[in-house]
């Protein structure tokens, strides 16, 4: 398994480099890069799924000249599992991306960095040494940063890129601390030794907290989510699809990897994970409902889905800490499946949002409307994604939420004591609330953007996207329906990574997973048949339908498109009721006359106070502390050369004398 991965990595970088080299012939360069990228990923995917059953852990080691480092890579079921959504999404996004740039050409190195981002994530998944892991991590962060600032001529893009850069490196600082703690305990920087040493409780707690914070900055759960709503709208859509779909999952992968280093889990880790997950889910989706920009809404929705994944993980950890194998099994299964599902539907939604922005020139929800008639394919696929993200049946989001629910329900019903039922009830409540609010948010998004009439933007000339872009989206939506309807066929891929996390205690109960999947599938198929029957019966005994009338305006004869409900008005009950979290701001400009002379204007916005208060405050605090070291940067070239010399001497002494 490792050698194909090496070949895959090398050819990704190579095709990227070739596309940069042939940049002069732009058409060729982008198609070559995108198509070869997609084909490579697909081949790799097929190979991987073929080998999944007969797979055994593999390791490859060789000596490396960096201090403390060893070129140590390996694949186990966890990394293999994460590769599946990565490869699917890499293929879909690159096919889609080949047509995405319309009037301005993509930069010379766009496809090179794209390949590098995929390769970096692949490297993160196979690294088994701290130094190698951090290098891969930085390749991933840096190439994604360069992709985010693709349109760096815009001020907002530069700001978003800057904040992303800062958060990514604050996260790295936490990660390094966690790894140093792990390394000092194990006496080595190789992952395989971390798992062998028993850590004392206090130390493992410390490691857990640092790793959670460090990986949290990548995963983007609250309160570390600040970069997501800025970076995703700034990046080109296929990049945001890739980032939101799978790159933030690398944070989850990191948390799982660190969890696997410990032989026993602490109870409070699970409780903390559930609480963070619940608040991240609820706050994330509340922010999403209040947004006015398509991609910002989707970005906040990613925060919510990471929260749902964390709830699943928390239940899994709790179940293992308190020895309820069923809870642990359902929790981890749900979390793992939701990782894949979220990658698929969020990728699809970002691609759909990109199509809307590309064809209409705006991502402002309030100025759009009625796009379904102009872009039926994009509209239908977007609808599929919206239903999936709301966790409703027939699509994949439902299955994973169902498993997380099942974990919480088993915990709430079967457990003794009073803490476990309370935590599980909290999980159920949070899942139900986020599910309902997500449905509210996505009916808003779909209903306002694709239905009714256009509000401000002129869409009379809008057409559906080119077929390559459609192909990318269709490819993803096939998986959406497949997992949603035939989940029992997918569950075997989750069982082995799940057992790595929940321990062997869960293996006797594993049949329950596909049992639930089968029952759901039978019911859904039956229901689908019923729908088709009723629909065809209706078609056969057709009645006359008059369609050339206007929507009934309740007696008003001249309805205008500006009188339709907007996204702000649709979200108003929610934003005002949850004012405690959202701090929604409303501005009404009026001229205070009885008979208005000037036109009035009203706007409402939801500010992310995590960014404006908490995060900026934190960064300023660090800035104030670190400015004490500013004398170090004196600005004279000679002194810098001196610094370099000192470092060389120190490294020399460390490597050869000590």
């Amino acid at each position: 398994m490792l050698y194909p991965i090496f070949i895959y990595l090398a050819s990704l970088v190579l095709t990227g480099a070739l596309s940069a080299a042939f940049y002069r012939n732009h058409r060729f360069s982008k198609y070559f890069a995108a198509v070869s990228n997609a084909i490579l990923s697909l081949i790799m995917l097929v190979f991987l799924i073929n080998r999944f059953d007969s797979f055994h852990d593999e390791v490859f080691k060789t000596i490396w000249s960096l201090p403390m480092a060893e070129f140590h890579v390996g694949v186990d079921f966890l990394s293999l599992f994460f590769m599946i959504p990565l490869l699917i999404l890499a293929a879909a996004c690159s096919i889609y991306g080949s047509e995405y740039f319309k009037e301005h050409r993509s930069g010379r190195f766009h496809w090179f960095f794209y390949g590098l981002l995929v390769a970096g994530m692949m490297m993160v998944l196979i690294s088994r040494n701290v130094v190698l892991f951090m290098i891969s991590w930085e390749i991933m962060s840096f190439s994604s940063f360069l992709l985010v600032i693709s349109e760096a001529q815009k001020e907002s893009v530069r700001r978003a890129g800057w904040i992303y850069f800062v958060t990514a490196h604050v996260g790295t600082a936490f990660l390094l601390t966690a790894f140093f703690l792990l390394g000092s305990g194990a006496g080595s920087f190789n992952f395989e030794l971390f798992g062998l040493v028993p850590f004392e409780v206090a130390k493992s707690n410390l490691i857990f907290i640092f790793a959670l914070a460090g990986f949290g900055f990548k995963a983007g759960f609250i309160p570390f989510h600040v970069w997501l709503p800025l970076a995703h709208p700034a990046a080109p859509s296929h990049v945001s699809g890739l980032m939101s779909g799978i790159m933030i999952k690398m944070g989850i992968y990191g948390i799982l990897r660190v969890l696997m280093f410990f032989t026993s889990y602490q109870t409070w880790w699970g409780i903390l994970l559930v609480i963070i997950g619940a608040s991240s889910g609820i706050i994330g989706i509340l922010f999403a409902v209040g947004q006015h920009d398509i991609k910002r809404l989707l970005a906040y929705c990613s925060v919510e889905n990471i929260g749902i994944i964390l709830i699943g993980l928390g239940l899994g950890v709790l179940g293992r800490a308190w020895d309820y194998p069923l809870v642990s099994m359902f929790g981890f299964t749900g979390a793992l499946l939701h990782i894949v599902n979220h990658a698929l539907f969020k990728g699809l939604l970002f691609l759909g949002a990109g199509s809307v922005i590309r064809q209409t020139g705006t991502g402002e929800i309030d100025s759009l409307g009625g796009l379904f008639k102009k872009m039926p394919m994009t509209g239908s696929l977007f609808l599929a994604g919206s239903i999936a993200v709301s966790g409703l049946p027939f699509f994949n989001g439902f299955i994973s939420e169902l498993f997380i629910y099942a974990g919480a329900i088993t915990g709430a019903v079967a457990s003794a004591g009073s803490i476990m039922p309370m935590v599980c009830a909290l999980a159920v409540m949070a899942l139900a609330l986020t599910g309902g609010l997500a449905a509210a948010g996505f009916t808003k998004l779909f209903g306002i953007v694709f239905q009714g009439n256009s509000r401000k933007t002129d869409i009379s000339s809008a057409v559906d996207v080119p077929s390559m872009m459609k192909l990318g989206m269709i490819f993803l939506s096939v998986f959406l329906v497949f997992i949603g309807m035939m989940s029992f066929l997918v569950i075997p891929f989750i069982e082995k990574p799940m057992l790595l996390l929940s321990g062997e205690a869960a293996s006797p109960f594993i049949y329950q997973l596909s049992d639930i999947g089968e029952k759901v599938s039978i019911l859904l198929v039956a229901l689908l048949i019923l729908m088709i029957i009723i629909f065809t019966v209706g078609k056969i005994f057709r009645r006359k339908t008059v369609t050339d009338v206007e929507t009934w305006g309740c007696g008003y004869t001249k309805p205008a498109s500006s009188m339709q409900y907007t996204s702000s008005s649709y979200a108003e009950p929610i934003t005002s009721q949850f004012g405690l979290v959202l701090a929604a701001r409303k501005e009404l400009q009026s001229d205070n006359e009885i008979f208005p002379v000037k036109p009035w204007s009203f706007r409402s916005s939801v500010e992310d106070w995590f960014l404006s208060r908490v995060f900026i405050w934190f960064v300023k605090l660090i800035d104030r502390i670190l400015s004490l070291l500013r004398w170090f940067q004196c600005g004279r070239a000679g002194v810098y050369v001196l610094y370099i010399g000192c470092i060389i001497i120190i490294l020399f002494i460390w490597k050869f004398v000590l």
Binding site: W552, Q564, Y565, S569, E572
Partner: protein
Amino acid sequence: MIINIIISTAAALVFSPLLIGIINKTKAFFSGRRGSPFFQMYFDLYRLLKKDAVRSGTTTIVFILAPVIVFCCTLAAAVLIPISPGTGIISFTGDFVLLFYLLGLARFFLIISALDTGSSFEGMGASREAFFSAMAEPVVFISILTILRLNGTTSFTDALGGGGAGNWIIISLATVPFFIVMLAENARIPFDDPNTHLELTMIHEVMILDNSGRGLALMEWAASIKLWLFSLIIVRIILPGSVLSFLLTFVIAVIIGIVESVIARTTLLKIPQLLFSAGIIAFLGFFLSFSKIFVWS
């Protein structure tokens, strides 16, 4: 199994319009009128199914598909509930999630079909429906957890289709929120007035303003099936042992009629508070179901 499905489907299809009739008759009785006949809704459905339709030019295929999807999902959810002991057709851990998410799918399509017309009235109703149902779902789920704990099973249909009743205090603490949510989800007073279209509190009725003919028939029928579903759940929670307990759904309909006659509709701003208090009651019930203090006494 097949017989059970047929029985539940037939019961849901046949009895549900009768519930509406009973509610209206009760309300008529309280206001001193003779009221429409019990079977009025059957006549209405028949009449609507025969009719031609008018459809706004703004709408898309979503508007055409929505009535079918709403109807089928609601019906499927209703069929999942056993109407007498031992007649559950499917049971697994977390089956109630499937049940309520099917209703959620129905609601999703109801909302987007309302938004499809581009009417501001229907947008208003859609927005409220989305918000209130999001508030109602956690309440229902906590109530269900309580019931599951009382019965010691992780499958809701198992708990409804057999098992003995638990302590009556806990059961009533689980049922009262369910009743409140039933009023909210079915757009009854005090949450919404099913007799008005164009009041400021309109929620459900306004969303189907532009439906006509068979689409409207399916939507109305689905709404009554939803009412049947909720009242059946309540009946099964209170009396899980008896075979004919589903007849008590008619009593529930009478109670709804009485509630609608004696209570005024609350203001919209108070609705979240009402659902929140239902949540508090549900939570207390769940708490009591595992409280050590309760076990001592």
